[in-house]
């Protein structure tokens, strides 16, 4: 979770502008967008003192609506009976990961916004990566300079997968022999217990070794010299390990 919402996306900047204009008015708005696109952070940034309530709990939402004039309802799509809620003369901001009934949304909300997914706002990726990298280095106590490989970042689940892939890169690029040993120890300890486990788990070491070597030296001939193994043995390993 990023506390201060950051964006370079013009589309999101316009959403913020519209929310800023209406933040003192009693209107109902909904922000619809895929999971983990930063909807909640954006609203928290604009309405820092608002009460946030989970749409999974209809009863609690009904109770809060009786007591408050301003309410943020996240997981709006999970409400069991949205039509029972009375938003008259209230400031309601609903957040939904998807909408199942467009007509009902259209009749309830005055302002309907669509939060673009991360794949449509590439300008935000560098901003988020930088922020997550600072956070990862602080949390993992990494002192080294880390350069992120953008082509290996995962944005399939928006900010959630992006953050995970930044942490993965930060850790993998800074870990020591001891860290790798510890990781492997725990992994093998958990997974071991089958038949011919030596043969089964050897690729855990061999595959990254050959992949990294091929990437670094470019040719099998050179790599076989570096690794000190026969060229035919290397070729056979590449085939067995399905390395491209």
């Amino acid at each position: 979770m990023i506390d201060n919402f950051q964006t370079k996306s013009i589309e999101i900047q316009n959403i913020i502008k519209s929310f800023q204009l209406t933040k003192s008015l009693f209107v109902s708005s909904i922000l619809i967008g895929q999971r983990s696109t930063g909807k909640k952070s954006l609203i928290r940034h604009i309405f820092p003192n608002a009460i946030f309530a989970d749409g999974s709990d209809q009863e609690s939402i009904e109770q809060l609506l009786e007591e408050h004039d301003e309410l943020v309802i996240f997981n709006y799509e999970k409400l069991t009976n949205a039509t029972r809620l009375n938003f008259d003369n209230k400031r309601i901001i609903a957040l939904a990961n998807y909408i199942s009934n467009e007509k009902s949304i259209d009749s309830v909300f005055a302002f309907i916004y669509h939060m673009p997914p991360l794949k449509d706002r590439e300008e935000d990726i560098a901003l988020l990566v930088n922020s997550f990298l600072i956070e990862a280095k602080k949390n993992l106590m990494i002192k080294d300079v880390i350069s992120i490989e953008y082509k290996n970042l995962d944005i399939s689940s928006n900010i959630e997968s992006l953050k995970r892939s930044v942490y993965q890169q930060a850790f993998s690029k800074s870990c020591t022999d001891k860290d790798i040993e510890v990781i492997l120890y725990h992994y093998l300890h958990k997974q071991m217990g089958g038949y011919s486990d030596y043969k089964k788990f050897l690729p855990l070491y061999e595959k990254p070794l050959i992949e990294a070597g091929l990437q670094k030296y470019g040719s099998q001939l050179k790599l076989s010299d570096i690794l000190g193994i026969n060229r035919n043995t290397l070729r056979k390993k590449i085939y067995e390990l399905s390395i491209n």
């Binding site: 204009l21 209406t22 008015l25 009693f26 938003f87 909300f109």
Partner: protein, 233 residues
Amino acid sequence: MNSQSINFKFFVDSDSSPFILFDNNKKIAYLNDTAEILMGYVSKTELYNLTIAYAPKDFGSKTTRLELQYDLFAFYALTVAYEDEQWISLRLYHKPRLQSTALDALDKLPLTDINILLEANITLFKLQNSNNLNLLVDQDLPMSRLDQNNFSKLLRKVLHAFRSSDNIDISLKLLIGEYLIIHNKREQILQLSIRANGRYNDDDLEIKSLAQQINITSVMKEYSILLQIPYIK
């Protein structure tokens, strides 16, 4: 009572409902002030044909319930009267602009800067559309009482009707010399006009109904939508 000496013309002139007297040559012999304004929106021939179509079969008068709309003028009934072959009159009955049931709630509505609502809706519209918008508004309009949520919904629908128009002209102004009487008080009228080279009309019924709910008069034309908003301070 001797009515010969009473100047009826003054009273008919002062009537807010249009009154027109035709002679037997289809010419207008007399029309009151309201009818004069109405003539700016509908032709003499159309009104004459209407008069003849709804005239009673014999001498006398006949009132018919009929929905009529000429620009911003909306009528719910008309009376046609004649007592000889020479003169025939038409009187049209205004449809109330405000719903009496919703009038009491007007005073309880929050004071609102209508320009903010308009700007927020235009920002939202621009998120999905790249049309060229020309805005002419009076930034110094004082706050007025408005149902903020329903008015925003109405604006969203109205702007959506122009989603494919190249150039959209939006103007917001106070009407000079036109008033609404609400709770015995004269209230001004704010007019929002959105005009372009064409528009969609698929949401027209919804726009009309939304506008009615919040006492706004809406007029939908081929190239424009006009909203007249009670300006309650």
